[in-house]
């Protein structure tokens, strides 16, 4: 028998495959992590502040305190993810040492490098990265990302950017599918993505890794809409624990994600959830406060 191999692409991408059809929830305390697990989250994202608070409090947002991440890992048995700043490979090394299940190289935190992203191939722990379009997604995959999430505009409760990004990625994939081989060279140049990955997407009609949607999802109907638009699953950040009844809303979003194409189920689970998070319209945000524009 051969020596067991950890950290292979198949093993890294495989965990994302197992999360499909599920909801990953932002949590800032072990108590919230417990609520998320009990409500049917497939994984939790351990954070010190949800994006809505990062947005309102301002300042530099960094990796969470290891004590907090440890406490959340100890509390739940589902996978625990945590965020590192874009380009901050040492924060990523720390998260790997803390034994998190996935590292999110995230634009929600303040970037640590405005030129380079992390070389994700050099890690045993898999990475998820944000993208607003196909070229950005393929650049992250080229750097070793094992899962992509469309960015949306985190911490707003406004799903319009998430819609824009998933539609953009889908439409760019569809365009590649209809191209001839000679056109794909130019497409790769225009997407600023490696030709081999562009060719793979053109041939298979999908990204080589799982694609979740994130940023502004606040209701069961939001989650179901993202699934109908082709997402493999959803991240819900501020939308749950900034709402009036997190337990009920979390469970409702989980059910709506499974029955995303059944409006009667979505209607049922949407009843009596109390206040949704107070939203911010993305159009009212000045450009420097738009997180989706971080990362390139």
């Amino acid at each position: 028998m051969t020596v067991p191999e950890t950290g292979s692409s198949r093993v890294k991408r495989g965990l994302a495959e197992m999360l499909k059809g599920g909801v990953i929830m932002d949590v800032v305390t072990p108590e919230q992590a417990r609520i998320a697990e009990d409500a049917g989250a497939v994984a939790v994202m351990a954070l010190e502040r949800v994006p809505a608070d990062i947005r309102s409090q301002g300042g530099v947002a960094r990796m969470s305190d290891p004590d907090l991440i440890d406490a959340i890992i100890a509390e739940v048995s589902i996978p625990v993810m945590a965020k590192a700043r874009i380009g901050h490979f040492v924060e990523a090394q720390v998260l790997q040492a803390l034994d998190v299940d996935y590292i999110d190289e995230s634009e929600v935190l303040s970037p640590a490098d405005y030129v380079n992203h992390i070389d994700k191939w050099s890690f045993n722990t898999p990475f998820v990265c944000g993208a607003t379009n196909l070229g950005e997604a393929l650049r992250r995959i080229n750097e070793g990302a094992a899962m992509i999430r469309s960015k949306g505009e985190a911490g707003t409760g406004d799903v319009s950017e998430a819609t824009k990004h998933i539609r953009k990625i889908s439409s760019e994939i569809n365009q590649l599918k209809s191209m001839t081989r000679d056109e794909l060279y130019v497409a790769a140049k225009e997407l600023q993505a490696p030709y081999e990955l562009v060719l793979e997407v053109a041939e298979t009609g999908k990204l080589p890794v799982v694609l979740f949607v994130a940023g502004g999802v606040a209701t069961p109907a939001d989650a179901a809409m993202m699934m109908q638009l082709g997402a493999d699953g959803v991240f819900v950040g501020s939308g749950i624990f900034k709402s009036g009844n997190p337990e009920a809303r979390a469970a409702a979003v989980v059910k709506a994600t499974t029955f995303y194409d059944d409006p009667s189920v979505i209607a049922d689970v949407s009843r009596g959830l109390g206040e949704a998070m107070v939203g911010i319209n993305v159009a009212d945000l000045a450009a420097p406060h738009r997180l989706a524009e971080r990362g390139w």
Binding site: T6, V42, S77, D232
Partner: protein
Amino acid sequence: MTTTLREESVGAGESAAAGPRVGVLALQGDFREHALVLASLGAEVSLVRRPEELEAVDGLVIPGGESSVIDKLSRTFGLAEPLRAAIAGGLPVYGTCAGLIMLADRVLDGIAGQETLGGLDVVVRRNAFGSQNQSFETELEVPALGATPVRAVFIRGPVVESVGAAATPLARLDDGRVVAVEQGNLLGTSFHPEITGEHRFHEYFLSKVRARR
């Protein structure tokens, strides 16, 4: 982003009438990967999320995913009891990873209140290897499938901690821990043949489905 499998039924081409009708439990997890493998082997595949959809199949696959979520959703949407009745009635069922947990009579290290469907006379331990950093792939001897070893991918997978008299181990790790079992029409693996291009477990399962039809 897999849009091609969004339809309720896949692989239902003109030749599909001859293929066995196999459902894939589609509450959460990598059900589309199973559906693709089964369709490529000639099965008429449908996704199962409701009790009436379960009645229309001759066999069922419970995919990889998060077992605590699949358990919760199967109870919330009234599938758990029909599934238990179908298993008791001899429906062939193959579970991978979370699916194996669902088929086990007992689970250790589940979340509070986690239930299984049962059927396999085994005790499984959830997340037996630890965090994702300990997830791995390896070559596995599976004598029931022939001499060529299986490339097996374990992703935060369970192990079968004890095998009761009614169940038979099919594969073990080097350290002796059981990672594949069968019992009558039930089959369970800790690992994920559906994501490696390994089709022999699905063929083995389909032979059980065909034999029962």
